[in-house]
Amino acid sequence: MASTSIETMTTTTAERRGIPGAQFVEDVQTYLTQLGLDVNSALAFLQERLQQYKLVEMKLLAQQRDLQAKIPDIEKCLDVVGTLQAKKGTGEALIADFEVSEGIYSRAHLEDADSVCLWLGANVMLEYSCEEATSLLQNNLDNAKASLEVLIADLQFLRDQVTITQVTIARVYNWDVHQRRIRQATAAKDS
């Protein structure tokens, strides 16, 4: 299969998170001879690559959406813990209306709340002091933001590879059309 030779050729371009880099083609003719492919199989190979890139892009976009939803959630939690802490030591109770069930609210008096319970996931909830909860949540928030940054960089890299591949497809195609025209012109001259 031609893919082995292509693999060795792409080693020059960087790879990121298992996403292979797209090779930039200097000259279409040389590219095709190097691969030993005709135009159609080269185009088919490039299209397949493009599909693979698109698939990865969808995965990364889903991850991005998850993270982007997670960040405001954590910020909300931090807000609540902050509100509890602000009331602490004032001697006043924090009065809050909370949802018991959908559309049904009840009133809570929270006096000197020292701790909160954080839902850690996997059916586990742990009690933390407000300070600990804040630092844990802050930590989670920083982590989420850092992962989002890495993810965005990955996406950018991926999109560059998509663009390179699209341009290469267009150029291989154009080159082929051009070659055909030359052949036609010479054939017309000969006859």
Binding site: E26, D79, V80, I95, E99, I164, V167, A170
Partner: protein, 128 residues
Amino acid sequence: MQQEQGGKSDTEVTWEDQQNINKFGRLNNRLHELLDEIKTAKETNDNLEDASNELILTDEEVIRFQVGEVFVHVPNDEVESRIEEMKEATSTNLEKLEEEKGTILAQMAELKKILYGKFKDSINLEED
């Protein structure tokens, strides 16, 4: 978008051109994200504006102020200052986003000049 069209072009595409095309694509993506972000920031701003207007009209001493999922009872004046703070934060954010939009549009115009200059109508950098 940003694909070459037609078969008449013989212009060589260099690595530099490719990088410019990539950059253009990236900027275009960011621009779309920014437009979304600006839209949500504006909405937040409007909502906060509405909230502070309602606050002026009301006689209630204690306001139910949403924190996370619950409504905390907060005195009127404290809510006012909280909303002011939030308004300030969103408008600074909005300014920052608008500024980024400006730089991106300028960079894109620059790249368009370069790429159209070289490839003429063999390249299309416009949105459909």
